[in-house]
Amino acid sequence: MFDAAPPSDEALVDATLGGDDDAYAELIRRHKRRVFGAAARFARNDHQIDDIAQEVFIRAFKNLQNFRRDAPFEHWLARITVSACYDFLRRERKHRETAPLDAVDFDMSDSSVERAISAGRAREVVGWAMKQLRPDEQLILTLCEIEERSVREVAGLTGWSEANVKVRAFRARNALKRILEDHAHES
């Protein structure tokens, strides 16, 4: 006797479209970790992480009939996640207030960077600098530098051309570096 193989994502999509809510619950269970991981890269607090994840799965549910099976469900969901995160960044920009980074603790010198890393503050420092950037710069840096996605992948996720992704990533990285250096000069 052998156990039946678990249903594929596509089969679960079909079942959901047929009105089976439990099938969608199973899809959420399979993919929520990835969505939460992505959301946590952009959100500023716990509440926002949950909001982004809910937004992603609600958008996916409402657009499930548009899911074409030319790519895996996971890729389709990743595009929705990126789109929801980008929308979140644009909304956030309207009421952005950046708390000052602890000026005493950080500058761009080797020793200060080393100290920040060993104290587990690298994410805080990078996050602080990222928040000074435009939404598209934050998005591209997160996808390229933090999530280490290839240019091609990022182009597929954002809908931008590969050349555009390369240019934006280069400019965003320079902008991030400048912010950290300027902060070092100010402090």
């Binding site: 969608y24 619950a25 970790r33 939460f36 609600i58 690298a122 420092v125 990078v126 950290l180």
Partner: protein
């Protein structure tokens, strides 16, 4: 050795990448919460449709009421006419029976 901002930025980004946030506490029962929200939205949309359609149904009910009333009135007058006619016919039959007229 001079500070190299590019390599320092790389080190910072690499450390930030390694420090993946723990989201397990948000994931707990997330699907249950989300499905509850979806059901709520679905029900809310059914109610919203019901409210949007309410004037249409009200007009339909009024039209149906008028139609029913006029049809009943026509039917009543027809019934009276038939009754009168049939009563009249009975009288004629009786008179012709009593008088022997054809």
């Amino acid at each position: 050795m001079p500070t190299n901002p590019d390599s320092n930025l790389d080190r910072l980004l690499s450390a930030a990448r390694a420090d993946a946030p723990d989201t397990s506490r948000f994931e707990f029962a997330f699907e249950t919460r989300l499905l509850a929200r979806l059901r709520e939205e679905r029900n809310a949309s059914v109610f919203a449709w019901a409210w949007k359609l309410a004037p249409f149904f009200a007009v339909l009910a009024i039209v149906a009421g008028f139609w029913s009333h006029s049809t009943t009135a026509t039917a009543d007058s027809l019934a009276i006419l038939v009754a009168e006619a049939s009563e009249g016919s009975a009288e004629v039959t009786l008179v012709s029976y009593l008088t022997g007229a054809p």
